[in-house]
Subunit: 208 residues, 4 copies
DNA sequence: GATGAATGAGTCTTCATTCAT
DNA sequence: AATGAATGAAGACTCATTCAT
């Protein structure tokens, strides 16, 4: 804000530079193989500077993941009233919208998402607990909603919990496949296909 | 059987002891954090002994994963004629059987499965390529079968490839959730629910 | 010169300290038996510091030897016009001067010379190729000059190449004996005796 | 000697097989890099067998070198009356003969000679003392004889010790060059050239 | 705020040697 | 005599973290 701020980058900027560099490096090499020296040299700073902004290598990784997961959780929670739908057709619209916004959020920060998914599942185990809690909370949320739908007879599944697991797994790994492995994710199409597939799976009509 | 065989373990036994110990340690700590010294002390051997049987820490991990993946691939390939079914009801039976045997195989060697799933996805990247190739080959196999089913109008999906991704993701992550996170997998129930869910998703009937 | 310069050694100083310590340790123990920990503790530094300055134990040894051999080669090449002499008496003066300066150079950096001579010949073989190439180039240079002298009838030997080998061997091993084994080398005397001995050997007059 | 000796190799044979294999391996890799496992597998035996015949890796190397050096010393001592010659021309004949037989002995067991020369000079230092003692004893022997020749005025050199060093160095390194580096040593020619060169160097006639 | 030189704990891997069979 | 599986000490190298300037 003052006239100094033009020449010297302020703390916030330097911090963000380090974060950006770290996201890139973590995604490329993974947490374990990424060196602090990789991050600082990508950010154009000296080794020691890193520790003025972050307590440790684990600290910055945790912050990156935490921030991403929080953001994703918020989006998800905003959308979750989707299952309050009273008809299957209304549900169809809402579910597609929810999947669309979830994929959109993931895609917008695909680097962080990749770090979270890989480190969360990988045995490195840095965020195993954090990540597994997140997944559990999604599953629980979904289970509740599915239970409600099932009780109103608009959904036809045996066990809401199991079904919630199916859906979360399907969405998570499909995102991983298209966005992270294939580096190409057409949100509109995938969201449409995915909601159609899931909807049928939830359909109360019995199998032929 | 004779009194000699009790005292001295032969090379095969020692090798298997190391493998068993390694599977345990890798599952507990992950490849990166597992030390060779952890493995040998779990096997009750000296450091150097390890290198009489395996070229390196990476070597043993690769052997464990390779063996498991080969076994799983074989099981999967034996079952894959499932989609040659001519009716949806026959398909239902076959698909449940296939999922059942896949889950059974995974459960039978749950430790190795966990290592493969975690290391295959994790950025540590030791088996990323190997694992992603495996997933791709499953998806491709499934895509072919689904395409055939779709052409015979017994399946109703927009794009066989996308659908194959959905199914593989659903099965993989559900196994991960129940067997690895929850440590409890009731194969019969899950296979039934999973095949029902998938079958509906594949149903040629339009959404209501 | 100011009070700051006393406290903190700069990178060049630290590097030189490591080099000095390494020369000492390599000479005492030889390359194979010298441990990096010996070098750093002789230099009063921590293990890791070594790797800030040198890529590996082999790297530093190679640098020490390369630098020494380059310096020696330069001295030798500056002097080599010695054999352009037109008379045996002029040759005598020049040859003594050349031997003198060769011995002087070797003596001035006797530690590095010892490392080069021992490692160059020893089967450890770190510098075998490098060193044998050096010897070959000296022999070739000498051979050329002797050939010229022989063609002008101021030298009387059967084969210039063989004679060059004799001379290089004589000088090398005599230096080794006096400087490295005996730790005492009177350059003036040895250069005089050596040039006299060699000169007679080159004399065109037949044996009595 | 008995009828068993045909089928099973006796101790002496096995011992010799190990020695032969060791000479080969030591020459190829040098003492430090040669592994006991290299030696036994070259000899077609098991690891443990080695230690039935030799106390340690160093032990066998020492025996190989000791045996070679003893043999060489014996040859040399048989010939050393060469300098008792009363005339330069008689000396010429005798010196050539001595050099010839030294080179012949070295060449006959070139592998062992190479090991001794390389390990004796190399910093590995296994035989440094042993070898340097040997060299010193040759020099001393030569010095005595040269002294006698000088006192009888058939040799014209300033200092017998220095001259002895020159000669030993010349012979040793020339052998090294032709036999070990070039793998080709024409004993007759080299002995002739060498004795001519040395003889002139010893000639009492002053330089022109 | 920033720097970057220094630190040293942590681990894989090699290989001479032993010993039970 | 021979075997070969097992041992364990030794040492190079990495990299997160500290701190004096």
């Amino acid at each position: 804000m003052n006239d100094m701020s033009v020449t010297a980058p302020d703390k916030a900027t330097t911090r963000q530079n380090i974060l950006d560099a770290a996201v890139r490096i973590f995604r490329e090499k993974g947490f374990q193989k990424a060196r602090v020296s990789d991050i600082v040299s990508a950010a154009g700073l000296a080794q020691g500077t890193f520790y003025l902004y972050f307590r440790s290598k684990e600290d910055i990784a945790r912050q990156i993941c935490k921030k991403f997961m929080d953001r994703f959780t918020r989006i998800f929670e905003e959308d979750h009233e989707v299952f309050d739908s009273t008809s299957l057709s209304e549900l169809h619209v809402r579910i597609r919208k929810m999947i669309h916004s979830a994929l959109k959020t993931l895609k917008e920060d695909a680097n962080a998402a990749e770090i979270v998914l890989r480190e969360g599942i990988g045995q490195g185990g840095l965020f195993k607990e954090l990540y597994e809690d997140l997944i559990l909370s999604f599953i629980e949320l979904l289970r509740e909603k599915i239970s409600m739908g099932a009780s109103r007879n608009i959904l036809g599944i045996r066990d809401p919990h199991t079904t919630a697991v199916f859906i979360v797994g399907l969405v998570e790994r499909s995102f991983f496949f298209f966005m992270i492995m294939k580096k190409e994710l057409d949100i509109d199409t995938i969201a449409a296909d995915m909601s159609a597939f899931i909807l049928k799976g939830l359909d109360p009509a019995p199998l032929p």
